[in-house]
Amino acid sequence: MEVIGLKKEKMGFEETELRLGLPGAEAARKRGFCETETTEDNKNGTVDLMLNLSSSKEADHSTDKPKEKTLLPADPAKPPAKAQVVGWPPVRSFRKNMLAQKKSGEESDQKSSPNGSFVKVSMDGAPYLRKVDLKMYKSYQDFSDALGNMFSSFTIGNCGSQGLKDFMNESKLMDLLNSSDYVPTYEDKDGDWMLVGDVPWEMFVESCKRLRIMKGKEAIGLAPRAMEKVKNRS
C-alpha cells in the first residue's frame, strides 16, 4: 500500500539525491516527495481518496471537489488514520483550519527548528527587542510591513512605510539617510553592519544574524561600506 511504498523509496533516497545550490547550503537541498507533504503550502496536509466506512453513498463521496475532501493527519510518518468521512466529525471548517494551522505552527516553534530563522530586532528608542522569524516573510515589502506594524506603537511617524528604497541608487540612498526616518540595518555573517535591501531577499534571510532599526542619520556611516560590498558582489 502507499505508505510502505514511500518508506522503501526513502531508504536509498539520500545517496542518489540531486542537490542544488552551494555545497553546505542545506536549505537548497531539493525536496523529495515525502517532504512535500508539509503543511506549509497546503494547510490541509495530504488529501485522502475517500475510502468509506458506512453503507450508502460512497460513490458520491469519491468524486468530491477538492474543497470537500477530508484530510489525513499532517504527519506522514504516522500510519494513515482510519478512512475519514466528509464533514465528520462535525466541526466548523473555521475551527478545523485554525487548529491545523496552529498545530503545524507550534511544531515549528518548539525547541530549535532547523526551518526557523529567528533574529533579534532592536529599534532605537524602543523599550524592548523583538524576535522575528525571517522565514515567515516572502519579500522585503512583506517584512517591512510587518516591522512597521510591530513597532508602530513606538514611532510617531511611519517606520519604513514607504517600503525599502532602491538601494542601488546612491543619490536616493543619501536622501533617505539624511532624513530622520528610521532605517533597518542588519549584522551579517561576517559581523558587518549593512543596510537592509541590497541583496536578494533569500540571501538576506540566510546571512542576517540580527537587525537594528536606527535613525537615518546614524546609518550614514554604513552607506560606503554597503555600496562597496555590493560592488564586490556584482
Partner: protein
C-alpha cells in the same frame, strides 16, 4: 371587548420582547397587527430566502435591528457546495433605498461583500452594531469602510469569519473622533494588525467593555492595552507567549491582577503554559471561559487553571482536558450551565482522552447543566442514563462520537436506550444531536417524548423510513430537521407533506430519497422551495428513480430564488 387607543397597546407591547411572542400578538386581530408592526424594532429572519427584504421593510417600517441567517447549518461541515447562496447584498441594498433607520445588523452563515459593507457604512447614520458569525466574502477593506463611516459604532463583533486579510491598516480608519466603542472582536483576523493604531483606538474608547484580540497581538501590547481598560468585562487575548522571566510578563501579571471586572476570558490563540499563571487572579470571578483554541495547553495546565474557577457558568474547552480534567471541572464549577468539549485534532489517529467517564462526572457535579456539546471517543447507554437522571434540565444536548457509528463501548449495543433516557428525562429539550450506532428505536423514543424538540441533527442513524416518520409525526414543535447518510426515503418524505410548512427547513443528504419523490413534493407544496444539489452535475439527469445527493427544502413566500447557482435545481 374594551377599546384601547393605539398608544396604550403600543406601550403594552413594549413589554413583549421575544420574537415569538410578538409574532403571536400580531395574529390576534387586525388592529393588534397594525400596532405591533409599526412599533416593532427588532426582526429575526431565520432563513434569508423565506421572505423578500422589501416585504420585511414594508411591514416593519420602524425596523432598527435585523438578524439574518443564510446557509443551512450543515454548510459548517462542508456539506453545502461553495457559492450555494446566502448573499446579504439584496437586503442591504433594499434597506439603503428605504427610510429604515437601521442600527443593528447580525448575520450568520451569509456571504458578505466589501461593497455591501461599504453601502451599509454610509447608508445609516445611526448604525451602531455589526455582528458577523461564520460569514465570508469580505476583506479588511470592507472593515475599513465600517470603521471610517460609522460615526456611532458601538459593536464590531467578528466571530469565526473567513476574512481576506489585506494586512494591517484598516484600524487606522477609525477616526480620532470615534470614541463610542463598547465591543470589539477581531479574533478571527489572520494577519498582522497595526498595534499602534489598536492601542490608540483602545485609549480613546472609555466605554469599551469587550475586547477580543487576534494572534498578531503580542503579550506586551496586551499589557499596555489592559492598563488603559480597567473596566473591561470580557477579554480575548491574542498571543500569550513570552519568556517566563521577561519584564513584559512580570508587568502583565501586575496589570492583570488589577482588572477585577473581567468575568469572561477567551483567546489564547497562541499560549505558553508557563505564562498561564498570569490569569489566575482573574479566575475566581470568571463566569465564562473559552480555551477551545488553546492548542498549546495540556490537560495538567488546564486542571491547574480550572481549580480556581469556582463561579464558572460556561466552559468551552478542548478534549485535551481529558476525563480527569472533567472531574476537576465537576468538583470545582458547581454553577456550570454550558459545557462544550471540542476535539483537539479532528483527524488525529490517536484516541481522544475524553470518554463517557468525563460526562458522568460532570453530570454528578454540575446539576445545573443545560447546554452540552461533547465530542468523545466513546459512549455507553449506562452513562447516558445516569446523565439523564442527574441533569433533567437539558435544553441543548449534542453528542458526537468520533466514530459516527460506534456502539455502546461496554455492551456493543446501539445507543438507543441512552438517548431515549435523555429525551424522556429532559422535558424541556429543544435541540438534540446524536451519534453512535442508532436504530429506528431511538427515533421512536424521540417521537414519543421530545415534545419541545425544535432542532434535530441525524447522521449515520436509523434503519428504515419508520425512523423519520416517528419524528415527523411525534415532534409537534420540530422546526429544523437535518439528516445525512441515513436510510430514509420517499415514503417518509411524502407521508405528511403539510408538515414542512410548519417547519423552517429540512435537509437530507446521502439518504434514499429520489428525484421523483422530490418533484412530487414540490408539486404538492408550492410554498416550499425544494432545492436539489447533485455532485458535479450541472446537467441534471432526468431519471426520476435516481437518488438525490442533497435536498434542502424550506418554506418561502418568495418562491424560487433568483440567485441560485447552476448546480442547484429548484423543483
Amino acid at each position: 371587548m374594551n377599546y384601547f387607543p393605539d398608544e396604550v397597546l403600543e406601550h403594552v407591547f413594549d413589554y413583549v420582547t421575544s420574537h415569538r411572542d410578538r409574532n403571536a400578538v400580531s395574529l390576534v386581530c387586525k388592529s393588534w397587527y397594525r400596532v405591533e408592526r409599526c412599533s416593532r424594532q427588532r426582526v429575526f429572519i431565520g432563513n434569508c430566502y423565506s421572505i423578500s427584504p422589501e416585504r420585511v421593510i414594508q411591514r416593519f417600517p420602524g425596523l432598527k435591528s435585523l438578524t439574518l441567517k443564510g446557509k443551512p447549518h450543515f454548510a459548517d461541515f462542508n456539506l453545502v457546495p461553495h457559492e450555494w447562496g446566502g448573499y446579504v447584498s439584496p437586503w442591504i441594498e433594499a434597506l439603503a433605498k428605504s427610510r429604515v433607520g437601521l442600527e443593528e445588523l447580525k448575520l450568520k452563515r451569509m456571504v458578505v461583500s466589501d461593497d455591501s459593507l461599504e453601502l451599509l457604512s454610509y447608508s445609516f447614520p445611526n448604525f451602531k452594531s455589526l455582528v458577523l458569525v461564520s460569514c465570508e466574502g469580505f476583506t479588511t477593506d470592507g472593515l475599513a469602510a465600517i470603521a471610517a463611516n460609522c460615526r456611532l459604532l458601538r459593536d464590531l463583533d467578528l466571530q469565526e469569519n473567513e476574512i481576506d486579510d489585506h494586512r494591517g491598516q484598516w484600524l487606522n480608519c477609525f477616526p480620532d473622533s470615534c470614541t463610542s466603542l463598547v465591543s470589539l472582536n477581531i479574533a478571527c483576523l489572520k494577519g498582522d494588525i497595526n498595534l499602534g493604531a489598536l492601542e490608540r483606538l483602545v485609549a480613546r474608547s472609555p466605554n469599551l467593555k469587550s475586547l477580543k484580540l487576534n494572534r498578531a497581538v503580542p503579550l506586551d501590547t496586551l499589557q499596555r492595552i489592559l492598563m488603559r481598560t480597567p473596566q473591561l468585562t470580557d477579554l480575548g487575548t491574542g498571543s500569550f507567549v513570552d519568556e517566563p522571566d521577561s519584564e513584559a510578563y512580570f508587568k502583565l501579571k501586575h496589570t492583570i491582577s488589577k482588572c477585577r471586572s473581567i468575568t469572561s476570558l477567551c483567546g489564547f490563540l497562541e499560549v505558553s503554559p508557563h505564562c498561564l499563571p498570569a490569569v489566575y487572579p482573574l479566575c475566581s470571578n470568571l463566569t465564562s471561559l473559552n480555551l477551545s483554541y488553546a492548542v498549546g495547553l495540556q490537560g495538567s495546565d488546564l486542571m491547574k487553571l480550572i481549580r480556581h474557577c469556582v463561579k464558572l457558568q460556561r466552559l468551552w474547552i478542548l478534549d485535551s482536558i481529558g476525563d480527569d480534567g472533567l472531574c476537576v471541572v465537576a468538583c470545582t464549577c458547581k454553577d456550570l450551565q454550558e459545557l462544550r468539549v471540542f476535539p483537539s485534532l479532528p483527524f488525529e489517529a490517536g484516541p481522544s482522552p475524553v470518554t463517557e467517564r468525563g460526562l458522568v462526572a460532570i453530570s454528578v457535579g454540575c446539576p445545573k447543566l443545560h447546554s452540552l456539546l461533547y465530542f468523545c471517543q466513546q459512549m455507553t447507554n449506562a452513562a447516558l442514563i445516569t446523565v439523564a437522571k442527574n441533569c433533567p434540565n437539558f435544553i441543548r444536548f449534542r453528542l458526537c462520537t468520533l466514530d459516527p457509528t460506534k456502539p455502546d463501548a461496554d455492551t456493543m449495543q446501539p445507543l438507543d436506550e441512552g438517548f431515549g433516557a435523555i429525551v424522556q428525562s429532559c422535558r424541556r429539550l429543544r435541540r438534540l444531536s446524536m451519534s453512535g450506532l442508532l436504530t429506528d428505536r431511538v427515533f421512536l423514543y424521540i417521537g414519543m417524548y421530545a415534545e419541545q424538540l425544535e432542532m434535530l441533527s441525524v447522521a449515520f442513524a436509523g434503519e428504515s423510513d419508520k425512523g423519520m416518520l416517528y419524528v415527523l409525526n411525534g415532534c409537534k414543535k420540530i422546526r429544523k430537521l437535518e439528516i445525512r447518510d441515513s436510510p430514509f426515503g420517499n415514503m417518509a418524505l411524502l407521508n405528511d407533506v403539510g408538515k414542512y410548512e410548519t417547519m423552517r427547513s429540512l435537509w437530507m443528504s446521502s439518504c434514499e430519497v429520489t428525484l421523483g419523490a422530490c418533484k412530487t413534493l414540490a408539486r404538492k407544496m408550492p410554498r416550499l422551495n425544494v432545492e436539489i444539489m447533485n455532485e458535479n452535475e450541472v446537467e441534471f439527469n432526468l431519471d426520476d428513480a435516481q437518488k438525490v445527493d442533497r435536498m434542502y427544502l424550506y418554506r418561502s413566500l418568495t418562491g424560487k430564488r433568483k440567485d441560485a447557482p447552476d448546480f442547484v435545481w429548484t423543483l
